[in-house]
């Protein structure tokens, strides 16, 4: 019985998001909502186009992936393949501790330490921007990527490695040509899960992304990803009003994105089990 609680909850989440989000489409078409370039929910008349928010989410996610994937995968290779047991036993908990820092603290850190630093170093108008947010998100995604990659690497049979080493390959060559290729589907799962984490993370993008609802033209432009918009505006949107519905509909879009990511990850993981 209780096993179905998770299923029920997932179902309820979908039902409630859709129930509260759907009414917005009596005011705007789905196309206008998703591809509309202007997000002015409190104007008279309002504009509910979340395209800049979607672009914001994607740009932040992509940039953070560019940073987090090499970092996470390399860390995992170090922990699983290279480090002696003792060092690995220190390095691994470090990565886990990184995962446990509350997102609001990461956001706060980005605001008060990283932002002024970026502003001075790159002489940019504002340190609250896409790059800052992506950097903070990258460090939050690294633990996910690292631990899933590590599992994948560890499940590669020892015999493969030994064979390669016996044939005269160096340790690095064995990792690059044998171990990593053998674990590649697991690593892709790791990357997708890391991206999914970055897509949905809220506090960091709320506090350090700058909050401007526009498509960025440089990595130092401010953006307003979907979770930031929902978190910043939900408090002001009266229950049942158009704005409230529009934010739930944004939640649906966000939910669908992460769902697609997770389904992809599960698919790859299943294929790789066989």
């Amino acid at each position: 019985m209780t096993a179905f609680v998770s299923v029920t909850i997932l179902g309820l989440i979908m039902i409630f998001l859709i129930k509260e989000g759907l009414p917005i489409f009596s005011h705007v078409s789905v196309k206008e909502f998703i591809f509309g370039k202007f997000w002015y929910p409190t104007d008279d008349p309002p504009a509910y186009g979340i395209f800049p928010l979607i672009v914001g989410t994607f740009s932040v996610t992509l940039l953070s992936t560019v940073i987090s994937v090499p970092l996470g995968v390399m860390s995992a290779i170090y922990i699983a393949e290279i480090a002696r047991e003792r060092l690995a036993a220190i390095a691994k908990p470090m990565v886990e501790l990184l995962a446990s820092i509350p997102s609001v603290v990461v956001g706060f850190f980005g605001m008060v330490v990283v932002s002024p630093f970026l502003q001075d170093t790159f002489d940019i108008p504002s340190g609250l921007n896409l790059f800052n947010a992506a950097l903070m998100l990258a460090f939050m995604a690294v633990p996910t990527i690292c631990s899933v990659t590590e599992d994948a690497l560890r499940s590669v049979p020892k015999s493969l490695r030994e064979g390669s080493l016996a044939l005269g390959a160096t340790h690095l060559e064995t990792i690059a040509r044998i171990t990593v290729p053998a674990a590649v589907s697991g690593i892709s799962t790791a990357v997708i899960l890391g991206m999914s984490r970055a897509v949905g993370e809220t506090m960091v993008v709320l506090m350090v992304a700058g909050g401007a609802a526009m498509s960025p033209s440089s990595i130092f432009d401010p953006v307003r990803p979907m979770p930031a918009s929902i978190a910043a505006e939900m408090g002001e949107a009266p229950f049942g009003a158009e704005h409230y519905n529009a934010l739930f509909a944004t939640g649906v879009v966000l939910f669908l994105f992460t769902l697609v990511f997770n389904v992809c990850a599960a698919r790859i993981a299943r294929r790789y089990k066989r």
Binding site: P125, D221, P222, A232, E233, G235, E236
Partner: protein
């Protein structure tokens, strides 16, 4: 006008407002003066409990309409939409003017620009002017900072400066007056707008059309970007709520209003 008549008409049929513990929510602009007056009031009337929170004018009205607050602090008048929502729930918003406020454009303290015209301000905020050199300043990108859309300051600025035109989507947003002043203090090319009471040493006020926003110019009407601040109640207040609002309006209360950085009514 119609709005006010509607409100008055509804007052007559309304049930008496709930008295007892007073809850205040809403505009962050009204927050400092509410804080000062409520602390003084509680010191005078032992046993009265007043709770206070911010969240912005929009949130305040939402709370008033949902019946979760006794007083809603507002830095603008109630919108038609909000009146409609209130009426549907049998809530009758009644406005009490408690102070005046003026909104001033502020820039980083090292910015040499001293004066801007209203048209220039509008063009900055619609994104037509993007560099300080177009305004006689250094060659530096303008970082436009606006308040989040739930704030009354946002609405007032839109009405009085922007002529209801849209703020450029490139504008950074800040959820509070305090957040805005902090960000401008640390951003060289920034411009923002803020209630006079929140100005700190890290930022510089820019005059508008040659008039510097101040206590005096706001009161005599020379400075145009000023507005009344309100406390809204559900129906005509009674008991302690009435007592508190009368206290805010009394000479003693108004002295506290002044100490909180807002402008007294007369």
């Amino acid at each position: 006008m119609k709005k006010i008549i509607l409100l008055l008409a509804l007052v007559m049929f309304s049930t008496p407002a709930f008295a007892g513990k007073i809850e205040i929510k809403g505009s962050t602009t009204v927050l400092p003066l509410a804080q000062k007056t409520m602390e003084a009031y509680m010191a005078l009337n032992k046993g009265t409990v007043i709770t206070l929170s911010g969240g912005g004018t929009g949130n305040g009205f939402k709370a008033l309409i949902d019946g979760t607050t006794t007083i809603c602090n507002a830095s603008r008048f109630i919108k038609d939409k909000e009146v409609k929502a209130a009426v549907e729930k049998n809530i009758v918003p009644v406005a009490h003017r408690v102070a005046l406020d003026c909104i001033v454009p502020i820039v980083h303290k090292n910015n040499p620009v001293k004066n801007l015209t209203k048209v220039q301000l509008k063009e900055i905020y619609t994104g037509k002017i993007t560099n300080w050199k177009e305004l006689g300043g250094p060659d530096m990108k303008i970082v436009v900072i606006a308040r989040d859309s739930s704030s009354g300051t946002f609405d007032a600025w839109k009405e009085m400066v922007m002529d209801e035109e849209r703020v450029t989507p490139a504008a950074l947003t800040q959820p509070s007056n305090g957040g805005l002043v902090t960000q401008i203090g640390s951003t060289k090319g920034a411009i923002g707008y803020i209630a006079l009471g929140y100005v700190t040493k890290a930022v510089k006020i820019v005059s508008v059309d040659g008039v510097m926003g101040s206590d005096k110019t706001a009161k005599n009407g020379q400075y145009k970007i000023s507005r009344p601040l309100f406390m809204f109640t559900n129906g005509w207040p009674e008991g302690e709520t009435l007592d508190y609002i009368n206290f805010v309006l009394s000479p003693k209360g108004q002295a506290l209003v002044k100490a909180a950085g807002s402008i007294t009514l007369n």
